[in-house]
């Protein structure tokens, strides 16, 4: 087990280099960012050249990448076009987004799995149909609209929440945004749980457990649920990254200056320093999340062993 974890941690190194190189190249392919800095007017050639050399854009790509990586190892993630340090940006954006992600994950785990268990045990009943309809609504209406409607109703009409999240972004202000971010994933988690539960509910070990006279609740939680969780856990693992980097729409609607928003702005401005910095951290998060998921497999199903 310990060796397995160490091996996985070592594998992060090539992934780290692979991703940074890939993202670096991609931002470079997008073209010359300087043209966008001078508004509708053309930058005069001298100023443009001056700006290019200041951001190191006049060098060949491989040299830019090496310089950048060299700096990263000294803790310098570069500077955004408006003169702000990328590390500063990350220091404000990541804590906020981590809070938002935690809220969203809690929704997925608590509501998603509960609904999944209930619908899985009551297939075809009204509750199952109701949840199915909710699922369809969540999938076909863009988060932009759900977010906006919740903001209007709860924030303006009923005054229950602040329509915009303050710059400190405390947990309680992130509840509604968290629900909006989690909504589509909730649909996945619910249906994954439902299917697994339905499949395993007829398994012989469950019948045996019931036949042994174990309380129903205990059978569901200890036997049925535990065995059904592997696909759900896998999905949630893949979702962590998506929640952290992809909450662009929700972050914009609720005025959250988080990772998704900063990353989006960085991409539109074609600022490789910001984008590579943020994505690198995100990939490390995926790697960690996937490692945890793989370790959880062994906990959920003891037959799975890691050498």
């Amino acid at each position: 087990m310990g060796r397995y974890v160490i091996r996985r941690l070592l594998q992060m190194i090539p992934v780290f280099f692979g991703t940074t190189l890939l993202i670096f190249l991609m931002v470079n392919v997008m073209g010359d960012p300087i043209a966008g800095l001078c508004g509708e007017r053309q930058c005069d050639p001298a100023t443009a050249a001056q700006l290019r050399s200041e951001f190191g854009l006049d060098k060949p790509v491989w040299q830019q990448y090496l310089t950048y990586m060299g700096n990263v190892f000294t803790g310098d993630f570069g500077t955004a076009f408006n003169g702000q340090k990328v590390t500063e940006l990350m220091a404000t954006a990541f804590p906020i987004t981590i809070r938002l992600t935690i809220v969203a994950l809690l929704f997925e785990i608590v509501i998603g799995i509960s609904l999944g268990v209930v619908t899985g045990l009551r297939r075809g009943r009204p509750i199952d149909t109701t949840v199915l309809i909710l699922t369809l609504v969540v999938i076909s209406i863009p988060t932009f609209v759900t977010g906006l409607l919740l903001q209007l109703l709860l924030g303006v009409k009923w005054g229950i929440i602040h329509p915009s999240v303050s710059s400190q972004a405390p947990l309680d202000e992130l509840i509604i945004p968290g629900l909006v971010v989690a909504s589509v994933s909730l649909a996945y988690v619910t249906r994954l749980t439902r299917t697994s539960i339905a499949e395993n509910a007829r398994a012989d070990y469950v019948r045996t457990a019931i036949a042994k006279g174990l309380p129903r609740r205990r059978v569901i939680i200890r036997h049925l649920l535990r065995n059904s969780l592997i696909p759900v856990v896998t999905f949630i693992g893949t979702d962590v990254g998506a929640l952290m980097g992809g909450a662009i729409v929700t972050e914009r609607i609720f005025n959250i200056h988080g990772v998704g928003y900063q990353l989006y702005q960085g991409i539109l401005r074609q600022n490789s320093q910001t984008v590579v910095g943020f994505v690198t951290i995100l990939v490390l998060v995926f790697l960690a999340a996937n490692l945890i998921v793989d370790l959880l497999y062994a906990v959920l199903d003891p037959r799975i062993r890691y050498a």
Binding site: E40, Q84, A91, R269
Partner: protein, 544 residues
């Protein structure tokens, strides 16, 4: 400021740049009591550049500069006329050499006196290539600019030879050419004076700028908020009527608007397009919709042989007549834009050179004639008109689609015109400037200063900085030169209008509509208005 839509949208609407720093400020900032000490909270977008006067080319940074700086001239927020602010007098005999005298009694908020040197140093800094100031071209009319800011290579001088300090109060300016209206350009923030500390401790200054305007910066958290407070010792007549302004950065103008309707914000200076239909119901008379110095146009590639033909004139005129401006401005923009009938803006006023209907029939919708003209001109080059725009900011898709629908209807062909989105603004701009586009593209102009010259020369003069389509016409250039040399203002304006008539005949770009500034405010504050740059006149706002 620069091009219309970039400044207006990219800056106002969504762009909260790449910044967001340590927590602090923010939250509900309405407070601080009412009356003269009341604090107004207002929506903001993060400035794209450091807040140096000669480096700020969009509205969000411009807002702050407008509060903390006063220059030699100031544009009257109502009439747009350039009036003397720090200038005691600006004299010239030949429209090329100017003698500027600075008023006594002005200081920066740190106590330093504002002298002639404060201006000369600031302008030299702004013009010098190595300082990377994006508005350096503003000093391009001053003699010696090509030495401190050459087209390529490094600068051969550190100061502008056209600027001479005479004494503490006076300096002289020599221009490269005659330019009678030049003193009226001095209201632009790039010409603001700068205190010594800007040069001696630049990093500290940028993190908390010091100026000479009615407000001082109390607290600046990059990417999140800025708190400005009334400067009690401000010597000017336009003292702040409130206790201060709290600017709050929003990720989206829709969110700012929602916060306004929920009572968490006092002022939104950019009502999102999607709310325009319900804004009257939401805000009633607290909604402001006034003309701004912005015109939107469709530009064409004259570097492409297919467009630079004699028949092309008829095609462009026909296309112009195929666009139902009235319908598009009322249905898509809810009348926050006005159909254009010349190439300037209503904010110039009739005396300033705005002339409604100057374009005449070529700018009026006429389906039958439009189709006829286009066919006479040989049809749309390539059989299909592509209108390029950037998709990342500004919701251009809606109006481009509407323009295309209008043209398609006239042509009786659903594919005669299509929108061609480009992913990012930077990519769009580089395609424009590298002359990669072979169809039309969205263009726009936001005035730098309220002069008819500014609407014409930088955009249509041969090889001018924003003449992206590379249109060139000797007659037009000659008239502009003549107008600039004219010392009588009324005559200069009418000569510029003559130049504009060349545009009617040639239709190098199609004028679409004049853009308005739209704002909404809470019932806590009164006396809210927007100036010609669609920036709120903060110092006049009163708190109940």
């Amino acid at each position: 400021m620069r091009g219309a839509t970039q400044a207006k949208w990219a800056a106002c609407a969504v762009v909260v740049a790449l910044a967001a720093t340590a927590c602090g400020g923010g939250g509900n900032s309405s407070g601080g009591g009412g009356g003269a000490n009341g604090i107004v909270s207002s929506s903001w977008g993060d400035p794209q550049n450091p807040l140096e006067p000669a480096n700020t080319n969009e509205v969000q940074g411009g807002k702050v500069l407008d509060m903390i700086f006063r220059g030699l001239k100031r544009y009257d927020p109502k009439t747009g006329a350039a009036t003397d602010m720090l200038a005691e007098k600006i004299e010239t005999k030949d429209n090329q050499n100017f003698t500027i005298t600075v008023k006594d009694g002005w200081t920066f908020s740190n106590g330093e006196k504002v002298t002639a040197k404060s201006f000369v140093d600031a302008w030299n800094y702004g013009a010098l290539l190595k300082n990377n100031q994006k508005n350096a071209y503003f000093f391009g009319y001053i003699d010696g600019y090509s030495k401190v800011h050459p087209e390529s290579g490094s600068s051969r001088a550190n100061t502008l030879s056209g600027l001479k300090l005479v004494n503490d109060k006076t300096f002289t300016v020599k221009l490269m050419q005659k330019f009678s209206l030049w003193p009226d350009t001095l209201g632009y923030p790039a010409f603001a004076p700068l205190p010594r500390t800007f040069f001696t401790d630049h990093a500290a200054w940028v993190s908390k700028p010091i100026g000479n305007g009615p407000y001082t910066i109390d607290n600046y958290t990059k990417g999140s908020s800025m708190n400005l407070r009334k400067w009690d010792k401000y010597p000017g007549a336009d003292k702040a009527q409130n206790g201060g302004i709290d600017l709050k950065v929003y990720t989206d103008n829709n969110t700012a608007y929602t916060d306004l309707t929920a009572g968490n914000l006092d002022l939104v200076d950019d009502v999102p397009a999607s709310q325009l239909k319900n804004v009257k119901a939401d805000l009633g008379d607290r909604y402001i919709n006034t003309p701004a110095g912005i015109i939107q146009t469709l530009a064409f590639p004259f570097y492409d042989k297919k467009w630079d033909t004699p028949g092309g004139i008829k095609v462009r005129q026909g296309l112009s007549m195929a666009i139902n401006r009235d319908q598009i401005t009322s249905q898509i923009f809810q009348k926050t834009r006005t159909p254009a009938s010349d190439w300037t803006s209503p904010v110039l006023g009739v005396d300033g050179g705005f002339k409604k209907g100057l374009c005449g029939a070529p700018c009026e919708y006429n389906a039958a004639n439009a189709k006829k003209l286009i066919q006479e001109g040989g049809g749309i080059p390539g059989g299909q008109l592509k209108i390029s725009y950037n998709a990342d900011t500004g919701s251009h898709k809606e109006w481009v689609d509407a323009v295309c629908n209008s043209i398609n209807k006239v042509m009786g062909n659903n594919k005669a015109c299509v929108g061609a989105p480009v992913g990012t603004f930077a990519d769009f701009r580089s395609q424009v400037s590298q002359q990669k586009l072979n169809g039309a593209w969205r263009a726009g102009w936001q005035m730098d200063y309220p002069l008819i010259q500014n609407f014409l020369q930088p955009v249509y003069y041969t090889d001018a900085s924003s003449n992206d389509g590379k249109w060139s016409n000797k007659q037009f250039d000659g008239l502009v030169d003549k107008a600039n040399a004219e010392s009588d203002k009324a005559k200069a304006v009418s000569t510029f209008q003559d130049a504009e008539r060349v545009l009617v005949a040639q239709m190098p770009v199609i004028p679409l509509w004049y853009q308005n500034g739209s704002a909404g405010h809470s019932d806590r504050i009164t006396d809210v208005s927007l100036n010609q740059f669609s920036v709120p006149v903060y110092e006049q706002i009163k708190v109940k």
